[in-house]
């Protein structure tokens, strides 16, 4: 059945030529101002060069990716693993909207970036009609809403939803036949766990908080990670030195944003071999991730430029390019 992707992979190959290269990112970082960077992007087909419409430009680029993939793949559910983050983001937004009784359209991600219609999500949470949600989301939606209504603790409801999202991403990855989707799921969960453990440790959170926040995955023992994080940051480093994430320790020591960059680069490194697999869904998944990475980098560069960060400081944050 791999032959069903021959046409799709060939089209992705052609589209990969239009991905922004390392040289383009260098040019963006070295641009004299955010306006100049936006003009460079416009020359590469990103937006119309209007600095006031950056969010629309990035949104349009994301929609372009998903529309393109939808043209190629008859059953988009194979890529749900990428869209669950959007679903659970919308769930958080819906829970907060309901608890605070205010409507905030701008915080919801668009219909094409999630598997559950944002309006359906909003109505289900508001009306407490949790049966309308996918079965994996029902319990966490109910529990997160109750937690926020009863305790007013937004962080608690967020970690419940985050953990549910990670658990679902991992399950979807494991169910997939594609190596790249499994790798994505595992790395997403492991990196999120490490970040959560470090943050919790710095905020002096107790073990029970960590147990509620960390999602199980194959490359980390979350019991050990939680125990280490409840002791000290050094204990976390000591635990990580015994895992496949030992290379991340210097990055975490630098900053969490350096660690996030390391995670993104690791993912790009893992997906790069997919360039050479013409009969699998891997190159399509790799293209989606490459585009997401590209959009993230552009957002970071433009935001750095607008906040007058130095070129070197922005360069440190820019992720590796897929091409």
């Amino acid at each position: 059945m791999a032959e069903q992707y021959i046409y799709a992979v060939a089209r992705v190959r052609s589209k990969e030529l239009k991905l922004l290269t390392g040289q383009v990112f260098d040019a963006l970082v070295s641009a004299a101002s955010a306006q100049d960077a936006v003009k460079i992007l416009a020359d590469h087909g990103w937006g119309d060069g209007d600095i006031n419409r950056i969010d629309e430009m990035l949104q349009a680029e994301r929609e372009k990716t998903w529309s393109f993939i939808a043209e190629l793949v008859p059953d988009m559910s194979v890529f749900d693993v990428f869209l669950y983050a959007g679903d659970y983001h919308n769930l958080k937004a819906a829970v907060k909207e309901t608890a605070r009784m205010e409507r905030r359209d701008s915080v919801f991600v668009g219909k094409k970036e999630c598997t559950v219609d944002p309006e359906l999500m909003r109505n289900a949470v508001r009306d407490r009609d949790f049966e309308a949600l996918p079965k994996e989301m029902r319990d966490v939606a109910r529990d997160a809403l109750d937690a926020l209504l009863h305790t007013g603790d937004g962080q608690m409801s967020d970690i419940m939803i985050d953990k549910a999202a990670l658990t679902r991403i991992l399950a979807a990855g494991k169910k997939s036949d594609s190596d790249i989707l499994r790798t994505y799921a595992e790395l997403t969960v492991a990196c999120a766990d490490i970040k959560a453990a470090i943050r919790a440790c710095l905020m002096k959170k107790d073990r029970s908080f960590l147990d509620r926040a960390l999602a199980p995955c194959d490359t980390l023992d979350i019991g050990e990670l939680a125990l280490a994080a409840s002791e000290s940051v050094d204990a976390v480093y000591e635990y990580l030195s015994r895992t496949v994430y030992s290379d991340a320790i210097p990055q975490i020591r630098t900053s969490l944003s350096a660690f996030e960059r390391w995670c993104d680069n690791l993912l790009i490194d893992k997906i790069r071999p997919e360039i050479h697999h013409p009969f699998t869904i891997g190159p399509l998944a790799a293209y989606i991730l490459a585009r997401e990475n590209e959009i993230k980098c552009v957002r970071m560069i433009l935001s750095g430029k607008m906040n007058d960060l130095s070129a070197d400081s922005i360069r440190e944050r820019v992720r590796d390019s897929y091409v």
């Binding site: 032959e3 021959i6 046409y7 799709a8 992979v9 060939a10 089209r11 992705v12 190959r13 052609s14 589209k15 990969e16 030529l17 050479h276 013409p278 009969f279």
Partner: protein
Amino acid sequence: MGDLGLFFAILGAALAALVAGAGSAKGVGMAGQAAAGVVTDQPDMFGRVLILQLLPGTQGIYGLLIAFVAMNNLGIIGGAPQQITLLKGLAYLGACLPMAIVGYISAINQAKAAVASIALVSKRPDQFGKSMLFPAMVETYAIFALLISILAINGVGAI
């Protein structure tokens, strides 16, 4: 028994055309999908990818050639089929099998190489010459099978 000999000989000729042709049909189809994918976004690549698409088609031609040679030897094309022994008929069948089997397998594998080369040429059009070589290498084995089948058919004809 003479009819049975002719039956097996014709079966061999038919298999050479059928199996090798089926491999080529599948292979050209696979490469065609990849070619269409590239041409959708890069119409100027049409000429290059068309050549790569056609490479797995040669096995079908070789199979056809073997079928013609065998049927010519048997006098079928001239309208005067020979009466041959069962042993000779089976020998014709055996002579045709290299082209049938190797033709099918090489066509599919050549198609896979052609699909990969189409991806290569879509990203690096200047590497078109090299990209032709990778699937062309697979052709070697189809040609070996063609030679053996021709030699064997002629050999059987001389028995």
